[in-house]
């Protein structure tokens, strides 16, 4: 059914269609509307049977999900930014135990400074937690990914994080096609856990493993995640058969076949980039965009193929490794640089800052002209930054390195900006 609906509500509807049995969550913007939505569906009796548990922290929310999943219940939770970090220990635990939990991350910046706006630092902080990470481009995409996420999680016994940009997607009202219950039921069978706490067949889940087997356990987790690279396209294809709409997959390319310049991005910014690509194509520039839908496991092959033939790749990232480089950018660079493809990382949209088309067009133009630095920050206020760097250089409390460090910073800053 096509509905004009807020992203969060749409996701709540989609989640409910997946018949989760235990939902626990702790409120945090911009995730709130999602769990309010699911909560209301449970309260009203539309989603049943389902236990909706108001917990005291995100750490508890993930922990409740762990317990529920280990007992054979389909478990769901949602969080954002600091909430994801609050549950970090349990996030690793869920994947380590191979529990097929599905979690929405309404992506939000992490502080300090506290900031409720969107970026990807939360998801990126936990990119190596052993979860599958899917990034939604639109609310329709988010709805579809959630349905696929349950299927994927349970097929592989691996937890799946569906990332959708906070506010940009969660709070925007768009037309979304919500699949029917019948469709979802056909696509997603009841949860058949691969291991379960059962008094009739007791096992011990969560053993302590020492160096003698830890590497093997990790290797196996890795192998399982890589298996998702095969699974995801299959499940996307099946989704299309059942629901009648292509959605999901590893990467999705737009006008990139003959592109010399390809933009790579995660999440909702892809939409903006597509508009910019259209404009620039009209100007005759051979430019396209590839959205990375599946960020973990990292779809090296699919992405490598999608970037084949590009002269340059510009990665637009809503997070970066502070003191290092871009996260996605570094991975793309590793993938294509030996083909002679030049890569640029543009850090953009931090803490909810908007990514204007004009700015994008500007940096893409710079990239095409070879004027762009390897790593740059979109719309950085140089005046402010330089003033502060200067003040730091003067600060007597920073002696004896006063003379050197600020200069390094400045030089670096000059190099990377």
């Amino acid at each position: 059914m096509l509905r004009q609906i807020e992203g969060s509500r749409a996701v709540a509807e989609a989640v409910a269609l997946c018949r989760p049995r235990v939902v626990s969550a702790y409120p945090i913007s911009p995730q709130t509307h999602i769990i309010e939505g699911v909560g209301s569906l449970v309260k009203s009796g539309r989603l049943k049977p389902c236990e909706f548990i108001n917990v005291e922290s995100e750490f508890a929310a993930m922990s409740v999900s762990i317990g529920a999943a280990a007992t054979g219940a389909r478990a769901y939770t949602a969080t954002s930014g600091p909430g994801l970090l609050d549950m970090a220990e349990a996030v690793f635990n869920a994947s380590g135990l191979g529990l097929p939990i599905v979690m929405t991350v309404a992506n939000r910046a992490v502080g300090a400074p506290i900031n409720i706006g969107n970026d990807h630092s939360d998801a990126m902080a936990l990119r190596d937690s052993g979860w599958i990470q899917l990034f939604a481009e639109t609310n329709q995409h988010a709805v579809d990914l959630h349905i696929q996420a349950f299927r994927l999680a349970e097929r592989l016994s691996v937890p799946v994080m569906v990332c959708m940009d906070g506010f940009i997607l969660t709070h925007s009202v768009e037309r979304v096609e919500i699949p029917t219950q019948e469709q979802v039921d056909r696509y997603l069978r009841p949860f058949a856990p691969q291991q379960v706490l059962d008094p009739a067949a007791p096992v011990s889940i969560g053993a302590m493993v020492g160096p003698e087997a830890f590497t093997e356990v990790r290797y196996l987790a890795h192998a399982r995640l890589l298996e998702a690279l095969v699974c995801i396209p299959e499940l996307a294809a099946e989704f299309e058969r059942v629901v009648g709409r292509p959605s999901g997959g590893l990467v999705s390319a737009y006008r990139s076949e003959d592109a010399e310049t390809i933009v790579v991005a995660l999440g909702s910014v892809v939409g903006t980039v597509k508009d910019v690509v259209d404009q620039m194509r009209e100007e005759g520039l051979k430019i396209g965009v590839v959205a990375v839908t599946t960020f973990r496991p990292f779809p090296e092959q699919a992405l490598g193929q999608a970037l084949e033939g590009a002269h340059r790749v510009v990665v637009i990232e809503k997070a970066f490794a502070v003191g290092g480089r871009g996260v996605l950018g570094a991975q793309v660079d590793a993938l294509v640089s030996d083909r002679g493809t030049k890569t640029y990382t543009v850090v953009a949209g931090l803490g909810g800052r908007s990514i204007p088309e004009a700015s994008l067009r500007r940096v893409l133009g710079e990239a095409i002209r070879g004027e762009l630095g390897a790593m740059s920050f979109l719309d950085l206020d140089r005046v402010v930054v330089d003033r502060e760097l200067a003040r730091m250089a003067e600060d007597p409390r920073r002696a004896p390195s006063t003379a050197r460090v600020p200069r390094d910073v400045r030089e670096n800053a000059a190099r990377i900006v």
């Binding site: 380590g96 135990l97 191979g98 016994s157 691969q194 291991q195 007791p202 096992v203 011990s204 889940i205 969560g206 053993a207 493993v209 087997a213 093997e216 356990v217 196996l220």
Partner: protein, 542 residues
């Protein structure tokens, strides 16, 4: 191969592959220790064991355990001075277990139910002469008969029982009880010939073709001290007086009776005198109460019945109706010394209870028998210097009590049996003592000792009815259950329950437990928490 995710999920109970027993430097082992009561029982009863049965209400099994060692539980259950109770560990917790009372309960139950003593072993064809049918003779006859020997008991008196019948008054030991326990022994095929005194042991043995003899003549002669007395004075000998109370026509004693002496006999004489109509029964004794040889319970009971005692006094002279008493004082060494202070005491009659001696004349012709201080010397096997002739009870140097006599009888019988079979070697070594330190008494529920009912004061002055009553069944059960089972597993399951490593297996009722040394880490908790001290740690042999 497990069907679960590798390493993260494990199959239940798989730790049993890990034999933690290798950690151990000490191992626990189960032991049986000697309970102090058993250790102290002169008859060598396995008290803890028969109480164990009684605790479960298995009274016949308890009685059977008891008569393994002592065929006279109804008798000993009344008159034994219960050294077991003095030794009982429970006495250090609250009050000693009323062992004697339970013993009596079992003995009485056996009489009431007609339980029969165990069958005799097949006949050996050997003949043993027992001279004297006191407790020691009865005990020996019983054990010898059980061993399959032919036993003839010869008794000088008209009825069997020795001092049980002719010494201990019936208000403490009803005659039906004596008769019942003796006839149970007779039922085993033991022949008791009364009015059949033996004047010469050697010839009696030869005449009857006996292979061995056990002499238990007792101490029948009242000890004589020179007490100056007027011709008209009425002096009685305690043994004769007490024996006389058995007769149809008791001896006349008058209203004011003085008993001279401080032993059990003196107490019984004074108490019997009261029952025979004496208004005053005064015991004159030359030392103080603490030094008195009579057993405390008997003194207590005598005083309760109105018997009075002149402590620190000797009789200097006996007149027709009074005695002259001299006050004594203890010297620095604790011996009584005359003070020269005299008082008169009215007395219609004086009963002398100054001890008993053995009449050893019948042994005169036996070669090799050694006599010292009027008593027959025996070795550890109870044998006199004359091979094949054993002796015990009051005529050998030992404490003079019924139970000691019973114990001698048992020991002699077992040694006679061995001697007849030509066996050497003694009984197995005794277990280490289960002292209170080896117990963990916290586990035992608090429970005061049950009190036996006593005859009301009035009836104790007028007749020979039994003074102390027996326990009824619930009380006997309760009392038995007060036993701590010192040094012997009573299946409390503590070791089974407290082992952090489940290294104790429980084998089921009566089967006790075993350690599983594959897993026992040797922590010692089972040892510390065994209430009765039946487990010890021993170093692991590496």
């Amino acid at each position: 191969m497990s069907e679960h995710p590798f390493a993260i999920t494990l199959d239940a109970g798989s730790s049993r592959d890990n034999r933690t027993g290798s950690w151990r430097v000490e191992r626990p082992i189960y032991v049986d220790r000697m309970p102090p009561c058993n250790d102290a029982c002169p008859a060598g009863e396995n008290i803890q064991r028969w109480l164990y049965h009684a605790e479960a209400g298995a009274y016949e099994a308890a009685w059977r355990g008891l008569v393994e060692d002592n065929p006279l539980p109804a008798i000993c259950g009344r008159v034994c001075f219960h050294p077991c109770e003095a030794a009982c560990n429970r006495g250090k917790v609250d009050e000693a277990v009323g062992i004697r009372a339970v013993e009596r309960f079992l003995g009485d139950a056996a009489i009431a139910h007609g339980w029969r003593l165990p069958e005799r072993a097949p006949a050996t064809g050997r003949r043993v002469l027992v001279v004297g049918s006191g407790p020691s003779g009865l005990s020996a006859a019983y054990h010898l008969a059980r061993a399959g020997h032919e036993v003839v008991v010869r008794e000088a008196a008209p009825r069997p029982g020795g001092m049980l019948r002719y010494g201990i008054p019936k208000y403490r030991l009803p005659r039906e009880v004596i008769d019942a326990e003796i006839s149970a022994i007779e039922d085993l095929g033991v022949e008791i010939r009364c009015d059949a005194g033996v004047a010469d042991i050697a010839s009696a043995m030869a005449e009857g073709a006996f292979d061995a003899a056990y002499l238990v003549l007792g101490a029948q002669l009242s000890h004589r001290v020179q007490v100056p007395a007027a011709d008209s004075a009425r002096l009685l000998d305690a043994l004769a007086f007490l024996a006389g109370t058995e007769a149809a026509e008791p001896v006349a004693i008058g209203r004011r009776v003085v008993v001279y002496g401080g032993g059990d006999t003196a107490m019984d004489a004074a108490r019997s005198a009261k029952r025979l109509g004496a208004t005053d029964a005064v015991i004159v004794y030359r030392r103080n109460r603490r030094k008195m040889p009579a057993h405390a319970d008997l003194v207590e009971e005598a005083l309760a019945e109105g018997v009075t005692v002149r402590w620190m006094s000797t009789i200097s002279r006996v007149e027709k109706d009074k005695v002259l008493v001299e006050k004594m004082e203890l010297d620095s060494a604790g011996f009584p010394q005359p003070t020269g202070e005299f008082t008169n005491l009215d007395a219609d009659c004086v009963i002398l209870a100054l001890g008993q001696d053995a009449d050893l004349a019948p042994l005169a012709a036996l070669e090799g028998v050694e006599v010292r201080d009027g008593l027959v010397v025996v070795d550890a096997q109870m044998m006199t210097g004359h091979s094949g002739v054993f002796a015990g009870g009051d005529m050998v140097p030992a404490e003079r009590t019924v139970t000691v006599a019973v114990g001698h009888g048992k020991r002699a019988a077992r040694n006679i049996d061995r001697w007849l079979r030509g066996e050497t070697g003694g009984p197995p070594p005794r277990h280490e003592l289960a002292s209170i330190e080896t117990l963990n008494t916290w586990y035992y529920a608090d429970a005061g000792r049950t009190v036996q009912p006593e005859l009301e004061a009035q009836r104790r002055q007028t007749g020979f009815e039994e003074v102390v009553g027996g326990l009824d069944e619930p009380n006997a059960l309760f009392e038995a259950r007060r036993c701590l089972s010192c040094g012997n597993c009573f299946e409390c399951d503590n070791c089974y329950g407290v082992c952090p490593d489940n290294a104790v297996s429980k084998l089921g009722p009566g089967e006790r437990y075993v350690f599983d040394y594959d897993y026992c880490k040797g922590c010692g908790i089972c040892v510390a928490e065994c209430p009765c001290g039946a487990i010890v740690m021993v170093p692991e042999l590496i």
